[in-house]
Every structure is written in structure tokens, then in C-alpha cells.
Amino acid sequence: MTAKLTGLLRRDLALAYRQKAELMQPLIFFLIVISLFPLGVGPGPQTLQKIGPGVIWVAVLLSSLLGMERLFRDDFNDGWLEQMMLSGLPLSLVVLIKVAAHWLTCILPLLLVSPLLALFLNLTPPMYQALLLSLLLGTPLLSLVGATGVALTLGLQRGGVLLSLLLLPLLVPLLIFATSAVDAAALQLSYNGQLAIIGALFLLALALTPLATAHALRVSQN
């Protein structure tokens, strides 16, 4: 079974490598959105520092939604999803592998460019550290919940806008705790509590969303 699962992971990584250009687009969108804010609200370092955490997290949510459909859309359209469902593997494990591959290929690049944001939005080093930790814990949660949303909208010809509509309200707690962690870091306060809550949410999602996603995938096949 492990061999089957690593085979799946390898396939998704190979596919991502083949479609590099497509993966770059959300990343560039992310950078553009971030640089719109100084243009919109003015370049004052104090203002930027104040709105920075919120802006970054909102931009992360929006740009990750852009590439979210990649999770299952192609597999659904070309019939690979059927083959996965008939492979004898538990579907929720397949979902976990898909989510892991998605996180590695679509979300990790966002984390890699994040030092740039610290410069753009005038974040202090402690703030950046908090931001990075919140991203590390929070974005897997984003991928997990996103997978459920994508699976739910698979049966539709176009699920793009609807997907955001379904997912964004669900991600409100993540936004609140993540930005508050960075805010706390700005005030030199401890932000372990916020991180612990995000971690707990992540574990909850890890336990529940693969089941929900697997079920939604089955519904999409009906």
C-alpha cells in the first residue's frame, strides 16, 4: 500500500514539475496583491506594519484559492479519479496524498517568497518569525479544507467562484488566529496560544476533512 501511495505522490510531483508555468501564476498574483496595498493605503511604514499581517494572510487565502481546483479537477476530467477509486486504496488516504502534493507544490512556494513580504510591508524580525510559523501551521489546514470544497464543486462545470464562496467563511478562524499571532509578535508578546489553537484546528481538519472529501468525491461520481 505504501508503494501505491508513494507512486501517487510521485505522479503528482512529476505533474507539477511538468506544469511549472501554471504553478507560478498564483504566486505572482500573491506578490501583486501584496504590492497593491502600499499603493492603495500609502507607503507609511507604520501603517504598513499595522495592516501587514492581515494583508498577507488575506492574500494567502485568495491566491491559494486560485490554484485550489488543481487538486482534483484534472483527475476528475480525464478519468484518473475513477482509476484511483478503483485501486483498492482507501479514498481518504488518497485524499491525504493529494493534499500533501498540493501543499508541497502550490503552497510551499508562497512560504518561500514570504521573506520578500517582510521587506515590502516593513515587518520586524519577530513579526516575520510569527508570520512564518503561522503560515507553516495554517496553510496545511487551508489545503485540507480546500480539498473538501474542491471535491464538493467537482460535479459542476465551473466551480471557481462558488469554491471561494464556500471556503472563505470556513477559514475565518484561521485568519483571526494567524493575524493575531503576528500582531502579538509586533507587541513583543507571546503568541504560543494562537499557534497552539491553529495547530489544534489543523489536527481537527486532518482527522475530519479527508473523510468529508472522500465522501464528496464519491458523490461527484454519482
Binding site: T153, L156, L162, L166, P169
Partner: protein
């Protein structure tokens, strides 16, 4: 499977049950809501701080409670549909969602209208209003998902999963928003939920709550019936029902 639930797995039986319950719900809602509103709006004592403007709670509080109640009912229906594969439960999800959304909207609207005299502005990012707003978004998501599917059977199943995901998330959203609110606003805005409320105010409030609950129930039942008829249009039992009616007319 629950023995008593089983007969209603058949849509036809569920339809009959709805037909039996609907008049009772309609009458009960009128019996509770009319006296409750008259009592609350005209006879109950005015609040010593807020004057008459507080009377909006006779609509605001019940609708806010029911917006959550309807969501729970929807989630229960979704759960039943998911676990026991009962078609009429899936339909119930689609039937309840718009009713719940309307309740949420009423709660938001009355909350905003109450905010105008109290806080001097229509909208305040108060914890309860904010969670209510997100609840409305969740409702809209479920409705939009259902509406987008051409295949309503698939759509109602998807909407059911969404409702369940939402109900797990709802307490998390609620507490995170509350926490966010205290963080950003401190205790400048006092809560309205008073530990003690005068019995003269409580009784009409309870009546209004019960009345509105029956309204929600009646509307949901009515929508569920419509949904059943529309979805099973080609089934013999609907044909027979339609045939019987046209004979009577």
C-alpha cells in the same frame, strides 16, 4: 436504523407526514406569534435605559436563536441523509437552508436597526453580529452549492456535506470571533444578554420565540413538500396525487 424513522424513508410517506404536520404548525405559529408580538410590542414595560427601542428584541432574539436552530436542524437532516441514505432527509437540507438564511438576515437587519439608536451607527463589528454575518455566508454557500447542480440529487448530497462541515466549524467561528472582538474592542460595548430579565418581558419573548420556531417549521415543511413533488414528478405517487386533485377540482 431507527425503527420509527424507517417508514419515512419513502418519499411518499414523508410527504404524507408533512401534510399532516403542516396545518398544526401553521395554527400554532399564529397562536403564539400574534399574542406574543402584541404583548411584547404594546403592553410589555419599556426598558428603563433603552426606552421603546429595546422592543425590537421580540423579533431580534428569536430570529437569532432560530438562525442557529435552523442550521442545526439542517445539519441533523444532512447527517441522517448521509448515514442512512434517506432521500427525503437530503431534500430537507435544501428545504431548510433558505428559511434559515432568511432568519439570519432578519436577525442581522434587526440587529443593525437596533444598533442605530444604541450605538449611533448601523453597523458595528460586534461579536454576535459578526458571527451572524458569517453564518449568513455559510447559509448562502449551502444554497449556492445546491442551486449550481443541475442534478438535484447530487446537489442536495453536496449541500448536505457542506452543511455538516459548516456545523463543525460553527462553534469554532463563534468563539474565534468573540475572542477577536474582545481583543480589538475590549469591553467598551456591553453585552445585551442580561442575566435577569423581568418576567413581564420574558413571557412575550418566549411566545415570540415559539411562534417564530413554528413559522420556521411550517415554512420548511411547505418547502420540503414542494421539493418532494418537484423531484419525484415522474413517480407514480405524484402522478396519482396530481390526478386525484384534478378530479376533485
Amino acid at each position: 436504523m431507527w425503527k420509527w424513522l424507517h417508514p419515512y424513508a419513502k418519499t411518499e410517506q414523508a410527504y404524507r407526514l408533512c401534510s399532516t404536520l403542516l396545518p398544526w404548525f401553521a395554527v400554532a405559529s399564529l397562536l403564539c406569534l400574534i399574542p406574543g408580538l402584541i404583548w411584547g410590542l404594546a403592553y410589555a414595560p419599556a426598558d428603563y435605559q433603552q426606552g421603546d427601542s429595546f422592543r425590537i428584541i421580540y423579533l431580534h432574539v428569536p430570529s437569532a436563536i432560530l438562525s442557529m436552530g435552523a442550521y442545526s436542524a439542517m445539519a441533523v437532516a444532512a447527517f441522517i441523509g448521509l448515514v442512512w441514505q434517506i432521500r427525503s432527509a437530503d431534500m430537507a437540507v435544501a428545504a431548510i437552508a433558505p428559511v434559515g438564511a432568511v432568519m439570519t438576515f432578519i436577525a442581522l437587519f434587526t440587529g443593525a436597526a437596533w444598533g442605530k439608536p444604541m450605538w449611533g451607527t448601523w453597523w458595528v463589528w460586534d461579536a454576535r453580529l459578526t458571527s451572524e454575518l458569517i453564518l449568513l455566508f455559510l447559509y448562502l454557500g449551502v444554497i449556492a452549492l445546491y442551486q449550481s447542480f443541475e442534478d438535484k440529487q447530487q446537489g442536495s448530497k453536496a449541500a448536505g456535506i457542506m452543511a455538516l462541515v459548516g456545523v463543525v466549524n460553527l462553534p469554532i467561528i463563534h468563539y474565534s470571533v468573540e475572542w477577536w472582538n474582545t481583543l480589538h474592542q475590549g469591553a467598551t460595548i456591553t453585552k445585551f444578554g442580561k442575566p435577569s430579565i423581568a418576567p413581564d418581558m420574558l413571557w412575550p419573548l418566549l411566545l415570540c420565540l415559539a411562534g417564530l420556531a413554528f413559522v420556521v417549521g411550517a415554512l420548511s415543511l411547505y418547502r420540503l413538500q414542494t421539493e418532494m413533488l418537484r423531484r419525484e414528478l415522474h413517480r407514480p405517487w405524484v402522478q396519482k396525487l396530481a390526478g386525484g386533485n384534478s378530479d376533485a377540482v
